[in-house]
Symmetry: C2
């Protein structure tokens, strides 16, 4: 995704901002500001190691060698992440990043992962040695019981999408290894490149909402705005093929997006369903493919919204005879400490880091769930009009 | 106990024998004979290290420094355990030890611990890495949940008696440390001297059935036999005071033992209840002390038979206002892997190693539970007559 931005919109200035959708979690009371600054400063001191660079240049991703072009790799190797702006406001932190898009976008994952892990550590700090051991024993058992249920279903395919909101790095690494042992070929890889490299796994990924959000914010008029979600995929189409051609249709409402989509998009490999009712999302995708003369059995639906093993099993059972199905399992894979600490102090929560403006203009996300929407009210109203979004069903956002 | 035997009956020749009371566990199919021999040979190669010897000589046990006399320590330092006799018979092992009593008696604990641990390892051998991790995670959680329940009760006092039937050495060590962190002063120590030494804990212990069993076997006539259980405690009385003066009354039936006991025994600190209905056992003890003019509130009842946290909490609740109460928690502290492996292959079982003869005469144990009785039928009948043992209630022996 970064390479795509680097080639197509390198000069766009963006602002990314931390958004704690779980305002009941008082991040600034839990995490010491000095410690947070230390971590963020440390992230700015990092650059690719020689081994990491060699791996990115030489490894096969999605069956393709040299996915990353030399000009991109050279830029990446010399990259230092831009400055951050941190301020405590009440019990929350305001944390923003400004600069050119390809640079700033790389802050999202480490910033979130650091905040999540510092919060975990703050809670762990008060625990004694055996309490700690048993905490991890319980978390391990909990994950393994999920794995034991999932591995009963042959054909299930699941990837790790849990980097940004993981409990901690070591815990994510453990979860990934448990998935490898438990699911074998049913575990299709991880979006954490370091773990993929260290554990010799497939590094996998897809495109995210920030692409259409920034393209849309840059649109000069309503007509360009209406075209923006397709323009971004046209650029993507130039760069990627096969299993990387996955539509993320919900940024401004899935139904309108599919209805107005150009025919070449129906030729893409699949659709990722990341908000709203997943059953309805998959039904819409199947109906759309049929309407465009495509065979759904040749198509891939990737579910990735707030998954846990029950939902995975239910969705697989419902759809695997009608379409190819895959799962991007995130927070409840790498951070399911629900119920394991007093006051549920380690439960995961909905922390995101989003592009909030591009070249000075606010971004907007509507999503298929109003609780995930973001942007100024007047812009939301405008986008709803432009994208023909009607009444939406509100769904609770847990993670 | 060994020092007592060393001073009082050093020349008695005894035979100790392995008895698997859980004959459904096919030990010889589970444990490789070569591996077992290797371990038993290794035990024979062991002697006290200098540090262990220094600790035994210099440490305080039950508030007493130099509990072990120099002649005993010198003998102990030069001890090599006598040979063992091992034969596979069907799916079980016959394992016996012969020689002088103070030497042979030291085989019991390592022989049992090795058999238990080899059985654990045999089951673990078939498990993969994450299965193993989760197995131990579950076992740790299980123990910790017991600790969490027990620590809710202030005043509860529990010691580790779980060496001989532990899952493994490292696991026992972990359990002991969990008890230390979880129960604090409520954890009164361990009967495993090595762990006590390494972890700076109280080494605790008491006397066992083998003392009256061997004394009784040596009795030339019924009159001497009837006196044997008291003779052995008279010898013990000479050597030990305070909290080491604990009566184990059930070898030939608790009720008869107490009824015919000499008055000086009522002056002892406490009674250990190791078979039969523990409530009845404690009630008998309390009634006996009262009948002998003693104040039960000054006396100690130690429960040690097949305890788990439910039984501990129940017995504590019933008796702690009427007598001092303590618990010797064994197998279900250090080996509660029930329900954690396929086919319950790691569940603890009732393996013992007992004195079966002394100077060529068979030993007998009646116990307060006929399922724990042992000895030739005619000798059992004779002992029942001599000790006035009537009808006994059968209770299932789990561990």
């Amino acid at each position: 995704m970064c390479q795509s931005v680097f080639h197509n919109r390198p000069d766009v200035k963006v602002t990314f901002s931390l958004i704690n959708r779980s305002s009941q979690v008082p991040l600034a009371r839990l995490i010491d500001e000095g410690e947070l600054r230390e971590q963020l400063d440390h992230i700015r001191s990092l650059s690719l190691t020689r081994g990491e660079s060699t791996w990115l240049r030489g490894n096969t991703f999605y069956g393709k060698r040299q996915m990353f072009r030399p000009d991109f790799m050279e830029w990446f190797e010399n990259l230092q992440l831009p400055p951050y702006f941190l301020e405590r406001v009440g019990d929350q932190y305001e944390l923003t990043f400004e600069g050119s898009w390809p640079e700033v976008m790389l802050w999202e994952i480490p910033a979130l992962a650091v905040l999540m892990e510092l919060r975990s550590r703050a809670v762990l700090d008060d625990m004694k040695r055996f309490e700690l051991q048993v905490l991890y024993a319980r978390a391990a058992t909990k994950l393994w019981e999920k794995v034991e249920r999932l591995r009963e279903v042959p054909g299930l395919r699941i990837a790790d999408f849990g980097t940004r909101r993981r409990h901690s790095f070591l815990w994510q690494d453990w979860c990934v290894q448990a998935m490898v042992e438990g699911l074998g070929a049913g575990f299709t890889g991880t979006s954490n490149c370091l773990i993929a490299k260290n554990r010799d796994l497939e590094a996998i990924g897809t495109n995210a909402h920030e692409l259409p959000m920034v393209y849309a914010a840059l649109a000069e008029d309503d007509e360009t705005l209406a075209r923006a979600p397709y323009d971004v995929l046209a650029d993507w189409h130039e760069e990627h093929e096969g299993n990387l051609r996955i539509i993320l249709p919900d940024t401004y409402g899935t139904e309108g997006f599919l209805e107005h989509a150009p025919d070449w998009l129906a030729g893409w490999t699949g659709i990722r369903i990341d908000s709203g009712d997943p059953v309805r999302g998959a039904e819409n995708a199947i109906a759309w493919w049929k309407a465009r003369g495509e065979d759904p059995m040749q198509k891939l639906v990737i579910f990735s919204d707030g998954l846990d093993e029950d939902k995975i099993l239910e969705l697989y059972e419902m759809f695997h005879r009608r379409v190819r199905v895959s799962f991007g399992w995130g927070t409840l894979l790498t951070n399911d400490f629900r119920g394991l600490a007093p006051d549920d102090a380690l439960a995961p929560f909905s922390l995101v880091c989003k592009a909030v403006s591009a070249n000075g203009r606010p971004t907007v996300k509507l999503s298929d769930n109003p609780n995930k929407a973001m942007g100024p009210a007047d812009e939301i109203a405008r986008y709803k009009r432009v994208f023909h979004v009607g009444k939406q069903e509100r769904r609770e956002v847990v993670v």
